[in-house]
């Protein structure tokens, strides 16, 4: 009970934030489905994919990387010591994918058609593959995750059935996830003229896949830490250290391929140019790749729970930055507009992330996500004797943690702020219209206007009215827009104009001021029953 009392104030603070975020998300949901994407987002035809794709989908899918990496290691390679991490990793993956699906419900213009790729095939489309991967892998993850729920139920049969197909499920899951991680990169292969060369590469699928594996490891470390803080449940620390090592090696490989690729495409120097893209690229690489790799390669930092957590956090943030850079920063210049998400877009993203945290918390609380023996130990206070754990409980440490996290956020924010400076940068001014007059002599020489048109006579008509284009058009500066297509049709099916009983259309100009009027006092025979010339 004392444990509960200790925890209550902080939880309450977070609860207030949580409720605020969810309320904003709820309001946006209402707005999205009553007023449309235009009212909810800053998206436009120039910038059709925003933060919901850049963060919710690209990063949400990557959360699953931990799931496929760990389950492959344990089930396929039989490296048993990682088994305790399988469940949290699968849970994260499942939540990630559920959140992607929720995010898509907001982003898709016609979300009720989300199942269409299953029956309307276009194998040439990367999006088609993505659609299939989302569907299949969500199903696989649901099955992989289901034992956690099924084992709590009184009936053993479904549990046994799912258990018996674990291996095929894992193999399918690894394949689907590999395909999916890389295909999100493949999505952007189709925009070679739009995506900035710092991010566009034929190897995008490879980059997306490799970085996702590193993220999977980092995310498992990160979650393990959060679970420890919130629920006093955690994983064997040595496993996490090893995982940190794996992340470091993967990231190094990723870094090496990326730099080599940029070198071979001759765009490496762009990174150091005084451009917005260059700065964002450097920030992504330094904060999200180089710094955490160095930290993880130093045993003293890697073996310190706090150091490990910070490194993992940096990997996660760096990863998010990479995806945002591909989806938003890299497309900014070519689009000609400056997309920045509206607060309503951020509210949806925030709500989705918050819901993810809540669901993770609930799962840890009510399901056997972490190994039962660990929990028992902690309940008995055995694990609490670990020095690292004691350190975590001291308020000094949590204050430092908070400070460092804030520093990180500020560093990233300051980079993001440079965006503001960039928004004022003079790029993509609309093409000049030119200052002089357009020489239209060649066109005018070819000008052919339709011949005279008879307007159908009504019963009260004082005489036939012929319309002559030649008399109505300014030959020096023809503007068809004056009368077409608002007043008169342009693509007539009959050679004459339908009767205009009250001469309303003609009257738009023939009002006695701009041109001869149409009232009785005016001369009807100016137009009627007079041969047009």
């Amino acid at each position: 009970m004392s444990k509960l009392g200790l925890r209550l104030p902080r939880i309450t603070f977070w609860r207030v934030i949580l409720v605020a975020i969810l309320a904003a998300g709820l309001y946006t949901t209402f707005l999205r489905f009553t007023k449309g994407l235009g009212a909810t987002t800053n998206l436009s035809a120039q910038f059709p994919w925003g933060i919901w794709i850049g963060f919710d989908v690209l990063c949400g899918v990557a959360l699953a990387a931990g799931g496929f990496t760990i389950s492959a290691v344990v089930y396929i390679f039989h490296i048993e010591k990682y088994r305790p991490i399988v469940r949290p990793a699968i849970l994260t993956a499942f939540l990630g994918y559920s959140l992607v699906v929720v995010g898509l419900m907001f982003d898709l213009g016609r979300p009720y058609n989300i199942w269409h790729p299953l029956i309307m095939w276009n194998p040439h489309s990367v999006m088609f593959e993505v659609g299939w991967c989302v569907t299949l892998y969500t199903t696989v993850l649901m099955l992989e995750f289901s034992p956690l729920v099924l084992e709590k139920l009184p009936w053993q049969r479904p549990y046994k059935i799912v258990k018996s197909i674990t291996i095929p499920l894992v193999i399918l899951g690894v394949l689907l996830s590999t395909m999916h991680q890389s295909s999100l990169g493949t999505l952007y292969l189709i925009v070679p003229h739009k995506l900035h060369p710092l991010w566009y590469s034929p190897l995008l699928p490879v980059f997306f896949f490799t970085s996702a594996i590193a993220l999977g490891c980092a995310m498992t470390i990160f979650e393990s830490y959060l679970s420890l803080r919130a629920f006093r449940k955690h994983l064997d620390f040595h496993l996490l250290t090893k995982l940190g090592g794996v992340a470091a090696v993967t990231l190094s490989v990723y870094f090496a391929i990326r730099i080599t690729d940029m070198q071979s495409r001759g765009v490496l120097s762009m990174a150091f140019g005084p451009t917005y893209e260059g700065r964002m690229f450097l920030a992504e690489m330094l904060l999200g790749v180089i710094a955490p790799v160095i930290m993880l390669f130093i045993p003293r930092i890697r073996n310190n729970q706090f150091g490990l957590f910070m490194a993992a956090l940096m990997v996660v943030l760096g990863f998010v930055m990479n995806r945002i850079n591909v989806a938003i920063t890299g497309l900014d210049r070519s689009s000609g507009v400056h997309y920045f998400p509206s607060w309503t877009e951020l509210a949806v993203t925030g709500s989705i992330v918050a819901a993810g945290f809540v669901m993770f918390g609930l799962a840890v609380k009510y399901l056997n996500v972490f190994p039962p023996e660990d929990m028992k130990d902690i309940a008995q206070g055995k694990r609490a004797e670990l020095p690292a754990l004691v350190a975590f409980k001291q308020p000094l440490w949590s204050a430092t943690t908070l400070a460092l996290v804030m520093t990180m956020i500020f560093m990233l924010a300051s980079v993001a702020l440079s965006y503001d400076g960039i928004r004022r940068r003079p790029v993509h001014t609309p093409l000049p219209e030119g200052s002089g007059t357009v020489d239209v002599s060649k066109g005018l020489a070819n000008l052919k206007m339709p011949g005279d048109l008879a307007i159908k006579m009504g019963k009260t008509s004082p005489g036939l009215c012929m319309f002559s284009h030649a008399r109505h058009v300014d030959k020096k500066n023809p503007n068809c827009n004056t009368c077409h297509s608002g007043l008169f049709r342009m693509l007539p099916t009959t050679p004459d104009i339908t009767a205009d009983r009250k001469m309303r259309n003609c009257g738009q100009c023939h009002d006695g001021v701009k041109a001869v009027g149409i009232l009785q006092k005016d001369r009807c025979d100016s137009c009627h029953a007079r041969k047009a010339s």
Partner: protein, 269 residues
């Protein structure tokens, strides 16, 4: 080349002949029953209500509209096949299939497709469809029909290319020596002639000559191979590692059956 039996239609736009009268703009609006979208048509942009525009660029009038690529990027990226390329040339859109992912909007190298951002439930992708029904009925497109100077001309694609080339040949010095749309991203059904560089008219000149769908297909067509090899490989690894473990366990049991109880090899889960 299965489309050989059908003649591919196209539009030839000659910017030197355009007088900026807006007939094509209004003809298009009328044919597609689109509402008025701007007080001054010369300053209008492509939008969900505007499928073609006439803008002033570099002291010329120039049209902008869907280019109707020979191998359209939008058609290739659409996951549900809502965008279709007809053998006659038009690229058209079927709203009932669309799920609204807007990949077509993102991928189009000419940034043509527009979206109904303010429709909350049934937004459509909007763009020129080269008057598909008129072409099917043997008519020219609305814009070409109403053009009073012949700046926009409708015809068979190969004939229009030949005509464009002969215009360049027969009027030395009048045109930039390039027919835009013959080779760009694999060729388009809208061809352009100009007397000033195309980039000053707002047309990208750095486009690849390779159709963009090839970029993704290069990766996608490898998938079945990757999946089958990966599946076999992983099953194999699983079998080998499992067997190794079984053997180890069996050896352990054979060597020290009495100590087995004290050293359980592994946990339950």
């Amino acid at each position: 080349m299965d489309t050989q039996t059908v003649t591919k239609k196209a539009l030839l736009f000659d910017s030197t002949l355009c007088i900026g009268c807006g007939a094509c703009y209004d003809g298009c609006k009328e044919r597609n029953k689109l509402p008025k979208s701007s007080a001054n048509f010369l300053r209008d942009n492509l939008s969900a209500d505007t499928f073609t525009v006439v803008n002033r660029r570099n002291n010329r009038y120039v049209r902008r509209m869907c280019m109707h690529c020979n191998e359209p990027t939008c058609v290739s990226v659409c996951p549900v096949g809502a965008l279709v390329k007809s053998p006659e040339g038009p690229v058209s859109y079927e709203a009932s299939k669309c799920m609204g992912c807007r990949y077509c909007v993102q991928a189009c190298p000419f940034s043509v497709p527009q979206y109904e951002w303010d429709d909350p439930i049934t937004p459509r992708v909007r763009k020129c469809d080269l008057c598909r029904d008129r072409i099917a009925a043997g008519l020219a497109t609305a814009c070409a029909t109403v053009c009073p100077t012949g700046a926009t001309k409708f015809g068979n694609r190969d004939e229009l290319i030949a005509e464009a080339e002969s215009r360049i040949r027969n009027n030395p010095g009048r045109y930039v020596n390039h027919v835009y749309g013959v080779a760009e991203v694999g060729g388009t059904s809208v061809l352009l002639l100009s007397d000033v560089p195309f980039e000053t008219l707002g047309y990208k000149t750095d486009l690849l000559e390779q159709p963009l769908p090839h970029l993704t297909w290069n990766v996608l067509h490898k998938l079945p191979t990757v999946v089958s090899i990966g599946g076999v490989l992983m099953s194999g690894i699983w079998w080998i590692t499992k067997r190794r473990e079984d053997v180890k366990k069996a050896e352990l049991e054979a060597n020290s059956p009495e100590r087995e109880a004290n050293s359980p090899k592994k946990g339950t889960e």
